[in-house]
C-alpha cells in the first residue's frame, strides 16, 4: 500500500515537472514571423494569443511596436471612410444607360426593317442565294477599292442630341439651353464662386507649376 502511494506521488511529481518544463519551453520558444504579425494586427485569440502575450512580456520592444501599429490602425480607421463612392459614377452610369438605349433603338429599327420586308415572302427565298452571292461580290469589289491611306476622321458613333453633364461640385449647377437663333448650345453655370477682383486672370499663372509641367513625357525610343 505504502509502496503504491509512493509510486503514484512520484508519478505526479514527475508529470508536474514535465508540464513545467513544457511550459517553460513554450515560454522560451519564440513565435514565428507569421504568428507575430497576426499578434501585432490583433488577430490572435485563445491559447495562441496567451502564449505570444506571455512570450512578449520579455520583449518590451515588441510590445512598443504592437502598440504603435494598433495606434496607427485606429488613427487610419478614424480618418478614412469605410467605403468611398467612385468618382463621376453617376456620369458614367448615365452614359452607359444612354448607350444601352441607343443600342436598343438601333436593334429594334433593324428588326423592323428586316422583318417587314423579308419574312413571309416565298419569292425572296429564291432570291436569297443570288443576292448573297451578289453581296459577296460587291464586298470583294469594295474591298479592292479601299484606299490604303488612313481615314481622316474617327469612326461614326451614334449619339443622343442632349449632352450628359456632370458637375463634380454639388454646389454648382448647370442649366442647358438651345438657342433657336444660331443653333448654339448654351450652358449657364450657377453657384460658382466669383474670381477675386484683385486677381488679374490674364497674366502669369497663380500657381507654381504649369499645365505642361504636369505632363510626363516618356521617350519610347529604343537605343542600342
Amino acid at each position: 500500500m505504502h509502496g503504491k502511494n509512493s509510486s503514484s506521488i512520484f508519478n505526479l511529481k514527475f508529470n508536474n515537472s514535465k508540464l513545467k518544463k513544457d511550459m517553460e519551453r513554450q515560454h522560451n520558444q519564440a513565435p514565428d514571423e507569421a504568428m507575430l504579425t497576426l499578434w501585432t494586427d490583433g488577430e490572435l485569440n485563445g491559447d495562441e494569443l496567451a502564449r505570444v502575450e506571455l512570450w512578449a512580456q520579455d520583449h518590451p520592444e515588441l510590445l512598443v511596436e504592437r502598440d504603435a501599429v494598433r495606434a496607427m490602425q485606429s488613427s487610419i480607421q478614424a480618418n478614412m471612410p469605410a467605403s468611398v463612392e467612385p468618382p463621376y459614377a453617376d456620369f458614367f452610369n448615365l452614359r452607359i444607360l444612354r448607350a444601352i438605349e441607343n443600342e436598343k433603338a438601333e436593334s429594334a429599327a433593324s428588326v423592323r426593317s428586316t422583318g417587314s420586308q423579308w419574312m413571309g415572302s416565298k419569292f425572296n427565298k429564291w432570291l436569297a442565294l443570288p443576292a448573297a452571292a451578289a453581296a459577296m461580290l460587291m464586298c470583294f469589289y469594295m474591298g479592292t477599292q479601299v484606299s490604303p491611306m488612313p481615314e481622316s476622321l474617327a469612326p461614326m458613333a451614334a449619339v443622343s442630341a442632349k449632352p450628359a453633364i456632370y458637375m463634380p461640385d454639388g454646389d454648382v449647377r448647370a442649366n442647358i439651353f438651345s438657342s433657336d437663333d444660331n443653333g448654339a448650345t448654351v450652358i449657364v453655370l450657377e453657384g460658382l464662386e466669383d474670381i477675386p477682383d484683385d486677381f488679374e486672370i490674364v497674366g502669369e499663372p497663380r500657381h507654381s507649376g504649369s499645365a505642361s509641367s504636369r505632363a510626363v513625357m516618356v521617350n519610347t525610343e529604343m537605343i542600342f
Partner: protein, 188 residues
Amino acid sequence: MTLFVISKLTLKPTRQPTTMMIRCLRLVFAAVLLPSLMVSSSLAEQSDSDKGKEIVGKIKASLYLGSDAAPEKWAEKYALVEKEVTERLRGIQQMKFQHYRKLGTDIQPVFRSYENWLAPLKPSEEILLSFESRGRSGDGGLRLDLEFWQHRRKIMQMNPVLHTDKSLLILGPRWRGCSLIIAIELMN
C-alpha cells in the same frame, strides 16, 4: 604583361579556341543585333504612324467678358469683340450684355485618341478646357469628352457634339462685376 606573354606562348597558329570563340561570338552578335535593329526601326515607324496622334479636327475657345455697365479703365486694355460675335451673343437671352471685351483665344488640334487642353487665357491657367475625341456623330459633328476647369478645379464634365456652325457657349464665373463667357467652336 605577364598574361599577354602567357597567352602569346599558349596560342597556336591555327584553330585556336579564342579565335573560334570570337568567330562564334561574331555570329551570335550578328544574329542578335540585326533582328534588334530591325525591330527598333519598325518600332520607330510605328511611333511615327501612331493613329492616336492623327488630328481629327480643330477647336477654338474664346473668352469674353460681358457687362451692362460701361467698361472701367482696367477693361480698356482688352480688345473689343467683333460685331458679328457681339450680335450673336446678344441674340442669346442669357448672354445679352451692353458691352463685350475679348480676353483671349486658343486654338488646339483634336487628336484621335489623345487628350488636349485649351488655355484661352494663356499663360494664365485660371480657365482651362480639356478635351478628347469620342468619334464623329452620325450628322457629321465631332463628339467630345469636355471638361471645364477653373482655378485648377474641375467644374463641369460633359460629352457635347460640336458642329462647325453651332458653337457651345458657357456662362461662367463673374469677375470684377462682369460675366465670363466661354465660346467653344469646331473649326473647319
